[in-house]
């Protein structure tokens, strides 16, 4: 018997079996639920009810999606259950546009939807990686929720629910970016019992809030400041108190401390630092006692992957490169401010396998040249994927043909400002970075914006491997409410 005849016979046998399976189910009055279903041709053939039984053991929604896309018969069998497994998959895609009440309602529908909501807000709003990406000094739309929380502090008097509700309805309006749902609290704290001055929260109310709801927080940003009307005795906070506050937030992943004036004083840290197993990202900005930072970092150092600080942290007498490496072995992303070339050199000699480096501002007195800058970060040459420089260096040239310094083979994205656009020594460096695909420039103003777009197009000509140039610019109209926000313009390479 030739092959085609054999195949025909096999096919006809399968179809016969399939018919039989279908008709058997039709004849069985107890199988109404599956009697219209047809099994796909498989070896061996299984009845629709056997398939349905097998599908009940599949718990992952993604796997059930694979089942319905595999063949029309399975799709038909699971058609009535699609809502159950597709809704949790769709929810993450629409959640940003839902108001907070609807998001909370979705948490109460069933376990799958609750998990979908919780995972999404966690990954979207409080993931340390995402926050590292968002925190730069551009007030983009993604940062709206930080601003809103300052209003919240004023409103959050526990006796005044109308104010709380008003606040919540306001943040709920912002496309689902309800910070509270995301477990995020960023607030200014004044060191007295006065309430509602300059949109700040009193330390007393902060402590009450943290005691009550602190376990829900995954992000805590505190800016301590003075209150002009109080007695001087109340104007400082001891580091011992800060340690006490940490005990209320055991689930925090991102921790940020800043002091607007020198109001944080070193106290006896009698209490042990509490356990914060999820802490991965620490940000220290202004006026914090070095000893406190040092002790905090020593305690949580093993678990930290992201560090955001000033140069003083690296240049302090006690923090030698080898000690930093020992205390913070897993740091991969660093953001530094007020740094000099020497500071960068020291940072580079720590030999962290950094993938991301952000320089906010250089120390104005010791601003490096471009060549000094690249040389000082060469310690990260083999690992760096993203580099951001928001301040200009000395000696950027519009002409010249000298070769750039050593290449960074893994660097895929560089972000800088308009000072760097079309500068020859900067572009020569970029040409040596074989993986570079994306450039971002902060051009700040729409004034001369067309000229910046022309420069961006020229950039795509000068740097053939770059696929897109992003320009961040101001909306330009001071009368607009969003004047302080920045829009972005993307210039893609077209083939």
């Amino acid at each position: 018997m030739d092959r085609s005849r054999a195949a025909k016979k096999l096919k006809s046998n399968s179809e016969e079996k399939r018919k039989v399976l279908k008709y058997e189910k039709k004849d069985d009055p107890n199988q109404n639920a599956v009697r219209n279903f047809v099994s796909p041709i498989t070896t061996p053939m299984l009845s629709p009810e056997t398939w349905m039984h097998a599908f009940e053991y599949i718990s992952r929604n993604e796997d059930l999606l694979s089942v319905i896309t595999a063949c029309p018969e399975w799709n038909q069998m699971l058609s009535t259950k699609k809502g159950e497994f597709l809704f949790p998959l769709v929810l993450p895609l629409i959640i940003r546009n839902l108001d907070f009440k609807t998001i909370l309602a979705c948490r109460k529908v069933n376990k799958s939807t609750k998990m979908a909501v919780d995972d999404t807000v966690k990954n979207d709003l409080t993931s340390p990686e995402k926050i590292y990406k968002l925190i730069n000094y551009l007030p983009t739309k993604d940062r709206e929720y930080y601003g809103e929380l300052y209003n919240f502090e004023e409103a959050f008097l526990f006796q005044e629910m109308t104010k709380v509700n008003k606040f919540l309805s306001t943040v709920g309006y912002y496309r689902g970016n309800n910070s509270i749902i995301g477990g995020k609290l960023a607030c200014g704290v004044q060191l007295c019992r006065q309430i509602g001055q300059n949109n700040l929260m009193s330390l007393f109310h902060l402590e009450s809030l943290l005691k009550r709801f602190g376990k829900h927080l995954r992000y805590l940003e505190l800016v301590f400041t003075n209150c002009p009307v109080c007695s001087s005795a109340e104007k400082i906070i001891s580091t011992t108190k800060l340690v006490e506050l940490l005990a209320y937030v055991p689930n925090v992943e991102v921790l940020s401390f800043t002091s607007a004036q020198h109001v944080i004083k070193m106290g006896k840290i009698e209490k042990q630092f509490p356990e914060m197993k999820k802490l991965r990202y620490i940000q220290f900005l202004e006026n914090l006692p070095y000893t406190f930072i040092s002790r905090l970092v020593s305690h949580y150092g093993d678990q930290l992957t992201i560090l955001d600080c000033k140069e003083v942290f690296f240049t302090a007498r006690k923090s030698s490169p080898s000690e930093l490496k020992l205390r913070l072995p897993n740091v991969r992303k660093v953001c530094v401010d007020q740094i000099t070339a020497n500071g960068l050199q020291k940072l580079s000699s720590v030999h962290w396998a950094l993938t991301h480096l952000r320089v906010q501002n250089f120390n104005r007195r010791k601003r490096p040249t471009w060549e000094e800058f690249v040389s000082s970060i060469s310690g990260f040459k083999e690992t760096l994927i993203e580099l951001e420089i928001y301040d200009h260096v000395r000696g950027l040239k519009t002409q010249g043909h000298e070769n750039g310094p050593a290449a960074f083979p893994k660097l895929t994205c560089v972000t800088s400002n308009y000072h760097y656009m079309c500068k020859k020594n900067f572009y020569r460096f970029l040409l040596t970075c074989v993986s570079l695909r994306k450039l971002e420039f902060h051009v700040y103003s729409r004034y001369m914006f067309e000229a910046d777009v022309d420069k961006a197009k020229q950039t795509l000509v000068d740097l053939p491997k770059v696929e897109q140039v992003v320009l961040w610019h101001n909306s330009g109209d001071p009368t607009r409410k969003d004047y302080t926000e920045y829009d972005k313009c993307i210039i893609y390479r077209t083939n």
Partner: protein, 169 residues
Amino acid sequence: MALVRVISSDGAAFLVSQRLAKRSGKLKTEIETFRKSSDNSEAQPEIRIVTIRAEILRLVLQWLQQHQNDPVLPANQNEQDGRGDAEMGQSQWDRDFLAPMDLGIVMELILAANHLEVKGLLDITCKLVESKITGRTVDEIRTAFKLKSDFKGNEEEQTRLENRWCVEN
């Protein structure tokens, strides 16, 4: 006219122009990858989409055909700057296109548009699902999407208590 063969998970093949296919970010990347790896510049690319079945793929292509002259929106526009669908209008054609679909099909279409990086289709389908849940009670959402509560014991009460952090003091 350069063509591309797009094959669904269940084996149905659709022959579409490359110009049309490139309006999907995913298909555009696949076509470019094929071009780079193929010696023959005249060869017809064949792309298998293993996660989308024929009925859904046909709907995506139908939508692309109708919107082939619209400006292309970056797939991640919303994520990056918060703009996008709010400013986008929905045409009568889109409304007629979505009207006969049940929610199961719409949700499959959302996942397909997301996978194929078709921003405009993703926006209108998401909007439809959003409209079915925004402002609804828990029970209404369950009914609309045929969902059952599987909370056991005090799990539902626990969830309600967790929600208090956001809505009550």
